[in-house]
Amino acid sequence: MSEYILGIETSCDETAAAIIKDGREIVANVVASQIESHKRFGGVVPEIASRHHVEQITHVLEETFEKAELTMDDIDAVAVTEGPGLVGALLVGVNTAKALAFAHHKPLIGVHHIAGHIYANRLVQEFDFPLLALVVSGGHTELILMKEHGSFQIIGETRDDAAGEAYDKVARTLKLPYPGGPKIDQLAQDGQSVIDFPRAWLEEGSYDFSFSGLKSAVINTLHNAEQRGEQYLQEDIAASFQASVVEVLVEKTYRAAKNHGVKQVIVAGGVAANKGLRKAMEEKFAGEASALMFPPISLCTDNAAIIAAAGSVAYNQGHRAGWDLNANPGLDLERYAQRNK
């Protein structure tokens, strides 16, 4: 018999529900985006995100079940993002999941949001361990080593801004409309890397990242140019900034992949949609032993299918959350992984 997992995700500004079959096949995947609402504020306003979630959640669930042509009776477990994320936003999903699981006597599974981003790739291709995941988004920049299902070892992470955050901040400096990250990528396609922005390599052998210095360098460069009465093309600023971010991401991922002899390299999270990053990764890993994989763009941004995919593994490993499951905005990935054992 097939296994059906319902996933729920409300950690930021997408209200999402999905049903997946046997851990790997999407049956329905519904996302209600709030981008239009947050645009006017130039970023996500947490309280407004939470308000939208509570208005949208039953609509999203209904659409999910209609598309799947299934009912709660068919569902084996309810998986929900318990963290990290915005606490008020997470709470809507967590309490919704508890209500569904309780009303139908189904197991409840708490899922780490980053585990979801990594498992996005399993909806396309089965994992081959050990594997390395580079998770890059507005909230995360992490290199994660997986030796088996449900095991996550963070070998590198950002010490300040997430890569996506740096994109958004630079976009704001360039006065690009929200969300600015993808627009920088777009501009960069038409620009030249004419400014040599710094690359933060940190200590020898470190897989950690740092993007706050780069962000300041961009702001200073623009400011100094303005004082000299000069002007750079926006496209060139974007291309130069992107070249710096991408080089560090690619190089560190490549070294980590070599050092740990991984069979697969997965690039996941919202920034995995970045064309510049995709191209540079593909060039670097061409002909290498580790297979490079990008989940489809629709699965890179936040959605609930990826939460259900990670939830399916946790479910099969015997993980069960209690009725006291809470939102955990600072949920630690490694501790979460140990709990799954």
Partner: protein, 235 residues
């Protein structure tokens, strides 16, 4: 009719089971704690105690605020989802109205309020009729001093019900004098999920998808944005 009532809109967390015209069980905590942790274990407990299965429920009742934004959403996410997935009606009541019913039968005018910081309160004025409480002054988020000034224009005495009453008692008395009445037992200030359940038995239900929290206040960013739009229009 079997009803599960849920209130997590303020410091008190309450759940109750109503069956065959009476409240079978009521569970209340009055502590500063995270309702997201406590709510579902409380529901699980009270359902077991009353031998009630989710599919035997006919109706869900929920207090929709005003109150803690997060608290209100914990209750509404749970209640809306249960009503939707069990395909049963949901009745959402104002959290102020719920507290006002603690004074039903004891006073003609009842003013429930919740402290909203910086001199503001969420409040409204209820008036007793033969069968129920009617809204005499709409619920609002207002400076308590201004509100008490409005109430002082009335002749009759008013019963004040609020868990935050001690914070404001001296101001209430200084403005309204003898017209201000307080219950002699503190318990009357606390919302009761059992009352919520009983009230919900006779109320019209709403469309589950359409129920939204009764925040009584815009998000600050949104209020500022609206002001900015207004300013631009007038330029």
């Amino acid at each position: 009719m079997n009803i599960l009532a849920i209130d997590t809109s303020n410091q008190v967390m309450g759940v109750a089971i109503y069956k065959d015209g009476q409240v079978l069980a009521e569970y209340t905590t009055n502590m500063k704690r995270n309702h997201s942790i406590g709510l579902m274990p409380a529901i699980d407990h009270i359902m077991k105690e009353t031998d009630m299965k989710p599919d035997q429920l006919d109706r869900i009742a929920v207090a929709k605020g005003p109150g803690s934004y997060t608290g209100v959403r914990i209750g509404l996410s749970t209640a809306k989802t249960m009503a939707w997935t069990l395909n049963i009606p949901i009745v959402a009541l104002s959290s102020l109205e719920l507290v006002a019913y603690n004074g039903f039968g004891f006073a003609k005018y009842i003013c429930p309020f919740f402290d909203a910081r910086r001199g503001l309160v969420y409040t409204g004025l209820y008036e007793q009729t033969d069968s129920h409480l009617a809204v005499r002054k709409e619920e609002q988020n207002i400076s308590f001093e201004a509100w008490l000034g409005q109430l002082n224009e009335m002749e009759e005495s008013i019963l004040f019900l609020s868990q935050d009453v001690e914070l404001h008692r001296s101001m209430i008395v200084s403005i309204l004098g003898e017209k201000a009445v307080f219950p002699s037992v503190d318990q009357f200030h606390l919302p009761k999920a059992g009352i919520l359940a009983s009230l919900a038995a006779d109320r019209d239900h709403e469309l589950t998808h359409e129920i939204t929290p009764n925040y009584l206040r815009l998000v600050e960013a949104e209020a500022n944005w609206l002001k900015e739009q207004e300013r631009k229009r007038n330029e």
